[in-house]
C-alpha cells in the first residue's frame, strides 16, 4: 500500500486525523467516515491519534507533506490548533472540522465545522428533566455521572444541564462524580451513590455507557431503573436504545456519529472550491421509549 499521492489522478485525497478509538461511538464515527469515503470515491488517508493532540498535529503535518487535497479532523481538544492550521493554510489545503469545534478566533483557518454541540445536548437533557418533573412537588434529587474529568464533552454536558436546571431551586444535584465514560466506572460510582444517598430521583449520565453500568448497580440494589430512579443520558448507542425500549432508561439525547456522508459532500464541495456554510449541525434527535423502539431495527452502532 502507499505510494499514492494527493494531486495525482482524478480522485480527491482526504487526510482525516481521528481522535482515537476510545468508544463505540467513536468507532461508529470512524466506520461511517471510512465507508462513505469509499462510496464517494474519495481516497482517504486515515490516522488515529490515540487520544493525543500531539499525534493529531503531527498527522496533520504529515498530510501537509503529502499534499493531500483536503484535511479533516475531529479535534481532541478545542484549543491549540493555530500553528499547524496556519501551515495548512500556507500550503493551500482547506481544513474541515468534524465533531468538535476549535476556539481559534481566526475563522479563516478552517472552511467549516460539521458536528454537534455538547452544551446543547446537556440542555436537552435538562429540558427533558424539567418537563418530566415539572409538576413534582418537593425537592428532586439528581445524581450525575460525569465524563472524563477535564474533557470537553464532560465539561459542556455538565454545563448545559446545570444551566437549565438552575432555573428552579427544587432541582438539586446531590452527588456528582466522574464515571470516566465507562460502564465499569459508571456501575462502581452508582453503587457508592446508592449507599451514600438516601433518596435518588434522577440519574443524569454524560453518556450511555455509564448509564448502562449504573442500571446494573441499581438493579443489584433491588431498585427498578426507570421507575424508582429515572435515567437520562446522551449518545444514543444501540444498547441504550434497547434499555430505553425496555423502560430502564427514560430518555436519551442523541449525539450522532454517522457524519461520513455529510462530510464527503463537504469535502467534494470544498475541493471544487465551492462556498460552504461556516457551521453545519449534524442531524440529531432525542429518543423516548416509543421512538427508540422504532429506531432500534436500523441502529448500526
Amino acid at each position: 500500500s502507499g505510494g499514492s499521492s494527493g494531486g495525482s489522478g482524478g480522485a480527491v485525497t482526504l487526510g482525516f486525523a481521528q481522535v482515537g478509538a476510545e468508544s463505540g461511538w467513536r468507532t461508529a464515527n470512524t466506520k461511517s467516515i471510512q465507508e462513505s469515503a469509499k462510496t464517494a470515491g474519495i481516497e482517504l488517508k486515515f490516522s488515529d491519534a490515540q487520544q493525543k493532540q500531539e499525534n493529531q498535529i503531527s498527522a496533520i503535518r504529515s498530510y501537509i507533506q503529502q499534499k493531500v487535497k483536503v484535511i479533516a479532523f475531529s479535534p481532541v481538544v478545542e484549543s491549540g490548533w493555530d500553528t499547524v492550521l496556519k501551515e495548512a493554510k500556507t500550503a493551500n489545503i482547506p481544513v474541515i472540522l468534524t465533531d468538535r469545534a476549535i476556539d481559534s478566533p481566526d475563522k479563516s483557518l478552517y472552511k467549516t465545522f460539521l458536528g454537534s454541540d455538547f452544551i446543547a445536548e446537556g440542555k436537552k437533557a435538562g429540558q427533558w428533566l424539567t418537563k418530566e418533573f415539572g409538576s413534582a412537588t418537593g425537592q428532586v434529587n439528581i445524581v450525575e455521572l460525569q465524563g472524563t474529568t477535564g474533557s470537553a464533552p464532560a465539561n459542556d454536558r455538565k454545563k448545559g444541564f446545570a444551566d437549565v436546571i438552575a432555573a428552579d431551586p427544587k432541582y438539586k444535584i446531590v452527588a456528582s462524580q466522574t464515571g470516566e465514560f465507562t460502564r465499569a466506572k459508571g456501575k462502581e460510582v452508582m453503587e457508592a451513590f446508592l449507599k451514600s444517598q438516601p433518596k435518588i430521583d434522577v440519574l443524569y449520565a454524560h453518556n450511555d455507557d455509564m448509564a448502562l453500568g449504573a442500571i446494573e448497580a441499581i438493579e443489584a440494589a433491588g431498585k427498578v431503573p426507570g421507575k424508582d430512579i429515572k435515567i437520562v443520558s446522551v449518545d444514543g448507542v444501540k444498547d441504550a436504545l434497547t434499555a430505553l425500549a425496555d423502560g430502564k432508561i427514560n430518555h436519551v439525547v442523541e449525539c450522532n456519529p454517522l457524519l461520513g456522508p455529510q462530510l464527503m459532500d463537504l469535502v467534494k464541495k470544498v475541493a471544487a472550491g465551492e462556498q460552504v456554510p461556516a457551521r453545519i449541525e449534524t442531524q440529531e434527535t432525542e429518543f423516548d421509549q416509543a421512538s427508540a423502539k422504532a429506531a432500534l431495527p436500523q441502529r448500526q452502532y
Binding site: 478509538a21 476510545e22 468508544s23 463505540g24 467513536r26 468507532t27 461508529a28 470512524t30 466506520k31 460525569q146 474529568t149 452527588a175 456528582s176 462524580q177 466522574t178 470516566e180 465514560f181 465507562t182 460502564r183 465499569a184 456501575k187 462502581e188 460510582v189 453503587e191 457508592a192 451513590f193 449507599k195 451514600s196 455507557d209 448502562l212 453500568g213 446494573e216 443489584a220 440494589a221 433491588g222 448507542v237 444498547d239 452502532y301
Partner: protein
C-alpha cells in the same frame, strides 16, 4: 509484631477505614438484600477482586526484578474474547466454560510471549511488556470490532457479579487464586528461587538456578491472573469494553505491590502484602465516592492519602519522627564518656 512484614500495610488499611468510619458512619453498614450482603465493604471486596488478582501476578513478576505493563491489555483481550464467544453462542454453562477456556488460553499465550521476550531475548521487562501493552489494546479492539460487546449470560455474569453464600463470587475467586498462589509459592521451592533470582540474578545463575524458566513462569502466571481479572471485569458489567477495560490498571497493581512491601528492585516479596495493597487502593476509590469528593479533587486526595500511607510505612520517617520527639525529652546520651582521649 511491628516487625512483621504486613504490619504497616495493615495499619495503613485500618487507618483509612477508620477515617471512613469517622467521616461517614454509614460506611460500614452491611445488610442482607436479595439474599446477598450489601454495603460499601462488600463493594470494596467485589470491585477490588480484579486488582487483587493482578497484584498477585504482578508481585511475582516484580520479585524477579521485572515489571509487566501489559496486564491492562490482557484484561481487555481476555474479556473481549470471552464476550465475543458468548455473544455468538447460545448462553449456557457450556458456552461459558468454552469462553473462559479460550480467554485463559489466549492469556497464557500472551504470557508466554512476554516471557519469551524477557527470558529468552533478554529485553528489559518494561519495554518487552510495553510492546504488548500497545499492541494488545489493538488486538482487543480487533476482537471486539471496536464496539462494546454486550452479553446476556447468567453463568458468565456470575464470575463478576454473582454471589455464593451471600458473598460476591469475584472475591471468592480472587481468594482462591490467592490461596493457590501462596501455597504454590511457599509450599514448593518457587518462592525461594524467585526471590533468589530477583535478589541477585548472577549469583542465582551460578548457583544453578534455571532463571529463564522461572522468569517465563512468572510472566505466564501474571498474564493468567490478568486474564481472570479480565473475565471478572467484563462479567461484572455484562459487556466487554476493549478500550477501557483495565486501562491504567498496571499502575494500580504496581502501587498495590509496592505498598504491600515488595521492592521494585526485586527479591523478597509478599503476596499477602499485595492483596492488602490492592484492598487499600480499592478502599481509597470507594472512599472517594462515598465521601463525595469532587472529581477535580480526587487526584489531590489520592496524593495526600498515598503519601500519608507511605510515610507511615517508611522506617526512615518513623526514625526521624522518633528522634524529633526524643530530642527535647532526653538531650544527653545515656552513657556519657568519662574522659576525653586525644587521638590522631
Amino acid at each position: 509484631m511491628t516487625k512483621h512484614r504486613l504490619f504497616w500495610p495493615v495499619v495503613a488499611l485500618l487507618a483509612l477505614l477508620l477515617g471512613d468510619l469517622i467521616a461517614s458512619p454509614a460506611f460500614f453498614s452491611i445488610e442482607l438484600r436479595d439474599g446477598h450482603l450489601y454495603g460499601n465493604l462488600v463493594d470494596i471486596l467485589k470491585n477490588g477482586a480484579p486488582l487483587i488478582l493482578i497484584a498477585i501476578g504482578m508481585t511475582l513478576v516484580i520479585a524477579t526484578r521485572g515489571i509487566d505493563l501489559s496486564v491492562g491489555a490482557v484484561v481487555a483481550i481476555s474479556g473481549s474474547l470471552a464476550c465475543l464467544w458468548i455473544a455468538d453462542h447460545p448462553d449456557g454453562v457450556g458456552a461459558t466454560l468454552v469462553a473462559v477456556g479460550l480467554a485463559l488460553g489466549l492469556s497464557l499465550v500472551l504470557g508466554v510471549w512476554n516471557g519469551w521476550l524477557v527470558a529468552q531475548l533478554g529485553i528489559q521487562p518494561i519495554i518487552a511488556t510495553l510492546i504488548l501493552m500497545v499492541a494488545g489494546r489493538g488486538i482487543a479492539q480487533l476482537i471486539s470490532g471496536g464496539q462494546i460487546i454486550t452479553i446476556n449470560s447468567a453463568p458468565y455474569e456470575w464470575i463478576g457479579s454473582g454471589f455464593v453464600f451471600t458473598l460476591p463470587s469475584a472475591i471468592l475467586i480472587a481468594l482462591a487464586v490467592f490461596v493457590l498462589a501462596s501455597l504454590l509459592v511457599r509450599r514448593s521451592a518457587l518462592g525461594l528461587l524467585v526471590e533468589a533470582v530477583g535478589g541477585n540474578p548472577e549469583a542465582s545463575r551460578l548457583a544453578g538456578l534455571r532463571s529463564a524458566r522461572l522468569t517465563w513462569l512468572v510472566y505466564v502466571f501474571c498474564a493468567l491472573c490478568a486474564g481472570i481479572a479480565g473475565l471478572m471485569i467484563s462479567a461484572n458489567v455484562h459487556s466487554a469494553d476493549a478500550n477501557h477495560a483495565g486501562l491504567f490498571i498496571e499502575l494500580d497493581a504496581i502501587l498495590a505491590v509496592v505498598v504491600g512491601g515488595t521492592q521494585l528492585t526485586g527479591g523478597r516479596f509478599s503476596i499477602g502484602g499485595a492483596v492488602i495493597g490492592a484492598l487499600l487502593i480499592q478502599t481509597l476509590t470507594t472512599t472517594v465516592y462515598a465521601l463525595g469528593i469532587p472529581p477535580e479533587a480526587i487526584m489531590l486526595f489520592k496524593a495526600v492519602v498515598v503519601l500519608a500511607v507511605c510515610l507511615l510505612q517508611s522506617p526512615a520517617f518513623r526514625r526521624k519522627l522518633r528522634r524529633r520527639k526524643a530530642r527535647p525529652a532526653a538531650p544527653a546520651p545515656a552513657s556519657a564518656p568519662e574522659k576525653v582521649e586525644v587521638t590522631a
